[in-house]
Each structure stands twice: as C-alpha cells, then as structure tokens.
C-alpha cells in the first residue's frame, strides 16, 4: 500500500528553484533514504512532505488522501481540518531535535498524545515508558532536555515522534548535529526501527548507514532526482554525477 505519494513537486524560494518536478512515493514498510550534496533540495522535499513548506506545484497524498493537488499549475491544499487529520499519518525527526526545553523527557513524549490525540493519560504514559526503554533512556524520564547529551536528546525526539503512532516517519539529517560517537546510537535506533518494518524516509549524509538500512536510495542534485534505485545499484552506478558524489565519499572512507 502506498503511504506517501508526491507528484511533480516544484518549489522555489524568491525565484531560486529548489525543487524541479520531483516525484516520490513510499510503500508501507519501506525504508527510503535521500542523499545528495547540500542545497540539492532534499531537506526542502522533506519539509514539503511534512507540510512545513507549501509546494508551488504538485500533488501530495497520504494513504490516497489528498493533502494537495495540482490545479492549473499550482498546488491547491486541502482545508485546515483535513490537513490536521493527514498530519496524524506522519512524524518528523529534526536535525536539531527541537525538543520542548521546559518539558521533562516524559512530558515531551506524552503531551501531544494526551492533548492533541486526546488519548487516555495512563495508557500514554505506559507507552512512553516502553518507548523510553527501547531508546535506552528508562532512567531519564524526569530529566530535562538540557541535562541530556545530543544523542540522548535525539533519541527522545524519536520517541516523541513514535508516541504519536505515525504510519510513516521522516528524518531530516538526524545525525548532522551529533559527533561520530553519538551518531552511532541514533543510527542503531533507526536500524532497529527498520527491522520492525517502520516506514521511514531518511535524509542523511551517512552513506554506509543509508546503504545498510535502505530498501531504496534516492540521489538528488540541484533540485532533481538523479537516480533512484537499490543501494547496491546506486553504489555501482555508472551515472557520472552519482559517481562523482559517491567518489568523494569513497575517498573520505578510504
């Protein structure tokens, strides 16, 4: 089943074209990573998918429900209340975590399920504790974000996203603000989620990780998808631009 479908997405900022006719669809249980140089539009694509940016043109569907459809060369978005329901289908993990600093770890995770989804408080807290255990943070429930390392904060933010029971989870460079040691913890968490068949779209610069975890990889450059294929094929690509980009990576990694 198709969880996400984006067709012919176009987006520019002040005349600067960032996305040129991009289409992307994600099946249930699939892990898709998006790689590419800085400024290639991969984060913008993710932000369009998560409704943080509005597309200039193109369609956006979640589980065949239209969040936006292209009409006469521009995207027409659904009503606010419809978008609110659609927003429930996905979660997003940010590069800078964006935890709520005035809430404890537990409240960061439970507040939205309780006050947005209006679920039973007791049940939500129990679920949150299970998630924290999964993230290896059982003893940190009553801490505040500022008392945690970057890696721990990012794990809390993953738990916060998972607590909403999203059908699909987006990661926007989840390890870019972390040092290599902390990066490992996050990649392990994401790998575990992949094993549980969580549907994920990951924008990342961690090539090895992307290769390991993804069912499909997308290489973006200058606002277009250069290649979209399995990790094996992408890394063996004959496309010159792909080779150039991955070549730099190969050199860096010996």
């Amino acid at each position: 089943m198709k969880l996400l479908e984006m067709n012919h997405v176009k987006k520019s900022f002040d005349g600067n074209v960032v996305l040129k006719n991009i289409s992307l669809s994600v099946e249930e249980g699939e892990v898709v990573s998006i790689i590419g140089p800085s400024g290639s539009g991969k984060s913008t694509l993710l932000r369009c998918a998560t409704l943080l940016e509005t597309m200039d043109d193109g369609d956006l569907y979640y589980l065949n429900e239209a969040a936006a459809v292209s009409e006469g060369g521009r995207s027409v978005y659904a009503s606010g209340s419809k978008l609110k329901t659609i927003e429930r289908q996905f979660g997003l993990v940010f590069q800078n975590f964006n935890l709520f600093p005035h809430y404890s770890v537990l409240k960061n995770i439970t507040d939205a399920p309780i006050h947005v989804q209006k679920r039973e408080k007791k049940e939500v807290i129990e679920e949150a504790r299970v998630l924290l255990e999964k993230m290896g943070l059982s003893d940190r429930a009553d801490y505040y974000p500022c008392q945690l390392s970057g890696g721990q904060q990012q794990r809390v933010s993953i738990a916060r996203a998972l607590a909403m029971n999203p059908k699909i989870l987006f990661f926007d460079e989840p390890t870019s603000a972390l040092d290599p040691e902390l990066t490992g913890e996050i990649l392990k968490v994401i790998t575990d989620l992949a094993k549980e068949k969580m549907t994920m779209v990951i924008v990342t610069h961690e090539m090895n990780f992307a290769k390991e975890v993804s069912d499909r990889m997308i290489f973006m450059d200058k606002g277009v998808i250069v290649e979209e294929t399995t990790p094996e094929e992408l890394f063996a690509s004959t496309n010159q631009r792909t080779r150039e980009f991955l070549g730099k990576y190969h050199i860096l990694n010996g």
């Binding site: 998560t50 409704l51 927003e87 979660g91 940010f94 964006n98 709520f100 006050h115 947005v116 500022c146």
Partner: protein, 216 residues
C-alpha cells in the same frame, strides 16, 4: 499630630499605592500581550495601529497621559468628573502606558523563539493556540522576566505620579502631611516604604527567575 497618627495616615496611602500597583499589573500585562500580537500581526492596519499606540505611549510623559485621562472626559465631552473617577483614571492611565512597554517586551521575547519550536509543535498536531500557550509562551516568560522586573520596579515608583491629580496614595499623603506638620519624617517614611516595597518585588521576581532556571 504625633508620630502614630502620621503613620496611620501614611499606612492608608500605602494601601492605595499597593492597590494601584496590583491593578495596573493586572490590566497592563494581558493588554500588553494583545498589543504585541497587534504589533506582530500580518494585518497592516492592526500593526500600524499598535505601532502608533506604542509610539505615543512611550513618547509622551506618563504624568501628561494621566492628566489627559483624568481631565479628558470633561474637557472633550463635558462629562462631569466624579471623585470616584480619580481612582479609575490612575489605573487606566497606568495600565495603558505600561501595556505599551510590556508589549515591546513580549514582542522581543516572542520573536526570539526559535522557529523549530513552532515546527515541532505543528508536526505533533498542536493547534496554534495550544502551540502558543503550551510551548511558546512559557518559554517567553522565562526569557523576558529580567526586563519585566525592571518595568515592575519602575511602576512601584511611578505610582507616586498619581500625586499630579491629587489621588491620595502614599506619596500624595506624605507630601500633605509634610507640608502641614513642617516635618521631614513623612518623606523619610515614604522613602523607606518605596524601598522596602521594591526590595520585596525584586526578591519575588528573583525567586521566580530561579524557579524557572531548571532548564536553559
């Protein structure tokens, strides 16, 4: 007049001063928030109005504003000024003046909030109202507390401006007693009162600041 009678009269004035102080904060803090919304609004008319309001309130003396609020109804509309209106005029003038200062403090705090907080809240499905009151505003309070303390302390001293329309708060009373008794004692008592009042206010605000320092 012995010292005890003097102190009793001053005590009545102190109570009035505290009343002005509390009522002014009670009205100016929420009003300031509304004005800051206007000031940040996308609506050009609303924004322009808020800007003009702040500009006038900050650009003219509080004492003059107080006189306008007090005498305005009579001079402009010919409405008779009752003695009860004196108290209202003081609170109205102070509240609308302080609201302008608070509005700018709120704006500074709100605009300093990182965009990521709004985005995280949006992705989690919070409504705009929830986002503001649950996520943004509590953090704004922490950020603006030192500036608010400054204003609040100034307000304690500004209450003495009620003297200009002869409203019998602490300062007016002290001045009257000093003149009739040819004594410095009421002034000294008034000075001590303002100092202690501000000392308490500063201590309370510091306590509050400390209480909010559990996160950074």
């Amino acid at each position: 007049m012995n010292l005890q009678v003097m102190m009793q009269q001053l005590a009545g004035g102190m109570l009035t001063t505290v009343q002005i102080f509390v009522l002014t904060l009670l009205f100016s803090l929420p009003l300031g928030l509304c004005i800051s919304f206007g000031r940040m609004s996308g609506n050009i008319v609303l924004r322009g109005f808020a800007k003009l309001y702040i500009s006038i309130m900050r650009g003219t003396p509080l004492m003059l504003q107080l006189l306008v609020v007090y005498f305005g109804p009579y001079y402009i509309f010919g409405i008779g000024i009752t003695s009860a209106y004196r108290a209202y005029a003081v609170v109205i003038a102070f509240a609308i003046n302080y609201a302008a200062y608070f509005a700018e403090i709120y704006r500074g705090g709100i605009e300093s909030m990182p965009k990521g907080q709004y985005e995280a809240a949006k992705v989690l499905g919070y409504t705009k109202t929830q986002t503001f009151f649950k996520i943004i505003f509590p953090q704004v309070i922490k950020r603006i507390l030192p500036s608010v303390t400054n204003e609040v302390i100034t307000l304690v001293k500004d209450t003495s401006l009620a003297f200009s329309i002869a409203y019998a708060e602490m300062f007016t009373t002290a001045k009257a007693i000093a003149a009739s008794q040819k004594s410095m004692v009421p002034f000294i008592a008034a000075a001590i009162f303002y100092y202690v009042f501000n000392f308490i206010v500063a201590a309370l605000m510091e306590f509050w600041e400390k209480k909010m320092s559990y996160y950074s």
